[in-house]
Symmetry: C2
Subunit: 216 residues, 2 copies
């Protein structure tokens, strides 16, 4: 009986190691292949050759190809760390700076080639396999970020710096103001304009708009 494929249900988002160093190295190779050539570039034979491991090991570790893909997503999600800066929300200026930094970080992550490749992969698979990859990306990626964002906004509201009814709605607006249609354009393969690469200015504009809507 082969080892079970990576199982979305039994994995906890806070489980730290989850993969051995060797496995992480292989997953990093898989990620590189994915970024370079998309899903069809990530074949089991190709990965085994690139990562200098045997296909047997791949199947032993990840169960099957779907398990491998899920592992790649989980691995990359575990690599992304947002600095938890929700602590010092002392005065209005620093809080606003924190929000701006958060947005900039968000843009940086979402527009990175790695994130784009994984989103493309998950989206391409979203109508098969009972959609494990999409679920995984939503759980480990978007929901994590949104939870942290809501916590940050709530802190601002408690300090009387923001004003809104629903934290989730407020976050959604902030997200929309920051991302607009750039994400989908990049996912479709468009090149980002020079203005879109200036994440700092993008973030500032988005936060300016956000404060005009929800600033206290």
């Amino acid at each position: 009986m082969p080892a079970a494929a990576y199982d979305i249900a039994t994995s906890r988002p806070d489980a730290a190691p989850e993969f051995s160093p060797r496995q992480q190295a292989v997953l990093q190779h898989a990620l590189t292949l994915l970024v370079e050539g998309g899903e069809k570039a990530l074949t089991t034979a190709g990965l085994a050759r690139t990562a200098s491991c045997s296909k047997e090991s791949l199947y032993k570790w990840f169960g099957d190809r779907d398990g491998l893909l899920a592992a790649v997503v989980a691995y990359q999600a575990s690599q992304v760390h947002f600095p938890s800066e929700a602590g010092a929300t002392a005065d209005a200026a620093t809080f606003r700076a924190h929000v701006t930094a958060f947005v900039e970080e968000l843009l940086g992550v979402l527009f990175s080639e790695t994130s784009l490749a994984l989103n493309r992969l998950s989206i391409g698979q979203s109508n098969t396999n009972s959609n494990r990859l999409g679920q995984l990306l939503l759980e480990r990626g978007k929901n994590m970020i949104s939870a942290r964002a809501r916590a940050m906004l709530e802190a601002g509201r408690r300090h009387g710096l923001l004003k809104y009814d629903n934290a989730e709605d407020a976050y959604q607006v902030l997200y929309g103001l920051a991302i607009r249609d750039v994400h989908i354009r990049l996912l479709l393969g468009a090149a980002s304009s020079p203005a879109e690469q200036d994440l700092k200015s993008q973030a500032k504009t988005a936060v300016d708009h956000f404060y005009r809507l929800f600033g206290a």
Copy 2:
């Protein structure tokens, strides 16, 4: 020599017929397969069986599988028509109603299963084939819509109803306020919440926010 595959370069967005009725019927079947099962459900043999045509005809009409996919995208893009309501921008209330209707229409199109399936397809292919599908979707879909939106907003600005520096930027904000992260969540296979299915209320909220930022 087989017929040339559907060529993005020589096709004009305003070319009306482009496909014979029989071909359109086949493309409609292809679209159905695509919506139901994603890209891997659209095999040449499967489409030939479903649409009661021969594989030989498919290859004659569309060149190869990539040409078929491009034809599906082009066909569906030609089916989407936004009502051109930019004419009567008489008073403030009706203009705002037009903007709201536009946003609602935009949401309806982007969140439809058909649009989602085509976006998934194009995104999944965006790092292969020199990215013909992504280009096509951007040209025929997003750019068309954005051009129309800019025209509408410009009309509002000329009538002193809106105030902004850059029409494209303003449209981007409107887009972000309307779509937020719902599009990407749906692309990833998430089910839309009941609130998200109320397009009318979504559109109203987005336009409210938009006016607070850009209303004159």
